[in-house]
Symmetry: C2
Subunit: 359 residues, 2 copies
Amino acid sequence: MVWGGEKLASESRAKSPTIRDVAAVAGVSHQTVSRVINKSPNVKPALRAKVQAAIDQLGYVPNIAARRMGGNRSYLILAINDRARTLDNWGVGRGNDWVDQMLFGGMMECEKNGFRLIFDLVDTENPAAGKQLAGALSSLRPDGVILTPPHSENQDLADLLVANGTPFARIGSSNKKDGINILMDDMAAAQTATQCLLDLKHRKIAFISGSSDYLASTSRLEGYRNAMAKARAPIQSDWEQPGDFSFESGARAAETLFSSSDRPTAIIASNDEMAFAVLHQADKFGISVPDDLSVISFDDTPGVRFSVPPLTAIRQPIAAMARRAASELIDQKIDVNEGAEITLPFEFIIRRTTGPAPE
Amino acid sequence: MVWGGEKLASESRAKSPTIRDVAAVAGVSHQTVSRVINKSPNVKPALRAKVQAAIDQLGYVPNIAARRMGGNRSYLILAINDRARTLDNWGVGRGNDWVDQMLFGGMMECEKNGFRLIFDLVDTENPAAGKQLAGALSSLRPDGVILTPPHSENQDLADLLVANGTPFARIGSSNKKDGINILMDDMAAAQTATQCLLDLKHRKIAFISGSSDYLASTSRLEGYRNAMAKARAPIQSDWEQPGDFSFESGARAAETLFSSSDRPTAIIASNDEMAFAVLHQADKFGISVPDDLSVISFDDTPGVRFSVPPLTAIRQPIAAMARRAASELIDQKIDVNEGAEITLPFEFIIRRTTGPAPE
DNA sequence: AATGAAAATGTGACCGATCACAAATCACTG
DNA sequence: CAGTGATTTGTGATCGGTCACATTTTCATT
């Protein structure tokens, strides 16, 4: 038998059952099936059971594209992440855990509600960021958008979303005017960190801040100042070192602090990268951690576990924030045009860079 | 003026232009617009330009759901990742960089072709994994599926995909019978690592292998053996230590090796986690790295940069693999029923855990 | 100039859900 | 037990693309 030398066109995909298949099996109209799927209250229990049985029997799962076409929901949540933050260039990971934690938290919540989470990597610097977002909105018509740092600080994107009428959530920032703003209590976190050091009898506590374009940076600095003031600990202006979240800025700050005549016995760094730099410089200056110097960092990215010694850190609850963001966008209980703030608890993880003040 | 106490129903979403809007502006039929979008060759340049102008003017982007409905493509690629690998529980990142590297590599390729990459986190252990995949197929009807470890070793999932007629790619594994199998040349990589140590005059080189359920594990072991045999280096059976990719197994293996009467001067660990364990144990045994002991690891996950000293490692080109997987699934040039293997180059990154053999 | 095939363009049906609305059923009242 | 309104079920249009096919235009060839 000859079928011809031509390769067969790829055999067609297995046909999934449609809502009408289910309707036929259950002996009801397609609309009734739709009602069961969407948990409409006005279906008699007996019928509902019969429909559900047909659904289970056929392994029916509604087609998300068709749902989008017919209705006004897409069952999609779009998460905007920063491309640069994810990887600095082809395949060289920076160990950023935003993406996987977002994925985990956001997806769990989406899955529970029949939604899907879709990521879009956008360059902050790219002036076409707005166009990229507009394209994604037009193509996907997501029911909600999650902005992560640094995009959560970009009001242009927020304005675009407001104009488009797409609900959105910011993570780690807030303009108090629109969107659902999911925050960690950075001020309280910094206060906690500072208090921890004060309790260990430290008095000379320095603080390396992050880029001032981030709300979190200023909140953290404020928390540090508050705790110091409350404890009547001496505040010296050169113990407040400016940083920009980079290793280099952390190293510079540490060098300045260590070269000072009145050297601090503890340093709080506004992120892990700068804390690593502090450890690095301490080693260079022959300063032993935590005996001569205590260090606390913010963020608690995965690499932290491998620092020597492992860093005591404030952990940002990224997964929980993403989960909450997805949850609120799906529920649609919050009027996005008014701006709501939701604060989630942070975690304080004591590892091995903190100890009692020397001497 | 009173608008009533009732909150306004959320104002409707901004309407995106449709293909017919573009057609009206360009003065052509909707089908011609479709042809331009899909780069059909049979459109006269003049018309094409006119249509393109209308598209640009309106900022038209085709709706992905409608494309799926009308045609037989969905413009979606589904990536299946392991849930456990991503995070071990709520919010505690393990520093796995599969997800972000996959996202980066896969998404760049998808974006270029008007596709979207969607992730699904599936529990390997969960017996409902198949059902979850079937549901995702039915709901999304992706044009292709990418399986990452450990799912790439799961033939049940592959069988399901074959039965469903959905093209798929495996990353880091191959059964040589179906799917597009994207591999790193693990054997050559292990050979390279071993050769590097041999070139440094090491002779007593130990190898800690990974779980034998992974193809990569056996390939790596084989590469080590080949290199050793070729160099006529002595092979001692207790220098081949079994591991399972966990820190604990690495620590056990290292302890055994260090306690041996004939202690090796170099160790190759099949992944970073076990290499960390080796460094940890070396410290405990008072063995200095790289002076007394050289260590090479596989994978080069982000945390590696923070080990002390930074690990010399073989890097898995995850982003490039994901990119290639997406590219092949989009192109549909490969007959998935026959099984193709694509090997991508690895990178060997020399850091500070490798040095000349002692004495 | 006539012819016919190939290239370019247009027309209307269709995918699989939801929506708006119509019809049937039910429950309660007088 | 008819009459009313609320609940339950059904019908057909619709979303925005692509597909199959019909039609028109182009152009080489006779």
